[in-house]
Symmetry: C2
Subunit: 105 residues, 2 copies
DNA sequence: ATACAATATCAATAAGTATTGATATAATAA
DNA sequence: TTATTATATCAATACTTATTGATATTGTAT
């Protein structure tokens, strides 16, 4: 019985895309940041202070998340407010679940 | 407004656990293996030949998956047959979705 | 017993990435 | 203007992990 996955360009591209997404969110600090932003938008200083991270490290992780378009930001005075990109996250989780769940159902 | 996540031992432990799971499955070859095993159980030689991976590399990734109890194996003659542990995968994805999805719903 | 096939292990290296320290940029206020 | 606060960037380091090559183990057959 031939497998149905990993056998064509589209399938491989999707797996690659999901793996990239997973790499981004598998970093514990980034997962925490997403978890926070899921509840409310927050400025950088609130995030790093709440999580007990270094300021520059927090900026770095936010950049990774933003480059992957999982979060957005806007300037508000001195502060930069980050918010989660719900649609992007939802789409990636859908794609992920396509691979992990729905065992024949 | 105080965040509801990352603020207690249980929440932090869950995030840590999810991140560990994501680290395991964010490796592209392991994701492919899971994808294959989701369809059918397979022996090691079928997996590495199908995916075009080195035999020892495939064994290594299978060990990582097995150590994390995402797959199981049984001996069958010369061959070792691997199968996915559906419940484990399902439980981890549930936990993951708890963090990524259900925006207030 | 020997030979062969399938799988696993181990050491070494390569590759990627998180973290840190120092510094730069941007916005605001005095 | 200068000073201050918030954020971003950059280079260097530390850490983790994927990959490779060689070898060992295990099961089966002759």
């Amino acid at each position: 019985m031939k497998p149905k996955c990993c056998n064509n360009k589209k399938s491989l591209a999707e797996i690659s895309q999901v793996a990239e997404f997973l790499k981004i969110i598998s970093e514990e600090n980034r997962l925490k940041i997403l978890c926070l932003l899921k509840e409310n938008e927050m400025c950088v200083c609130d995030i790093w202070q709440y999580l007990g991270l270094a300021q520059n490290l927090t900026s770095h992780h936010l950049k990774v998340l933003k480059d992957f378009e999982l979060v957005s930001s806007r300037q508000e005075g001195l502060k930069v407010i980050y918010s989660i990109n719900k649609n992007a996250v939802k789409n990636y989780s859908k794609l992920l679940n396509k691979f992990l769940n729905s065992y024949g159902e």
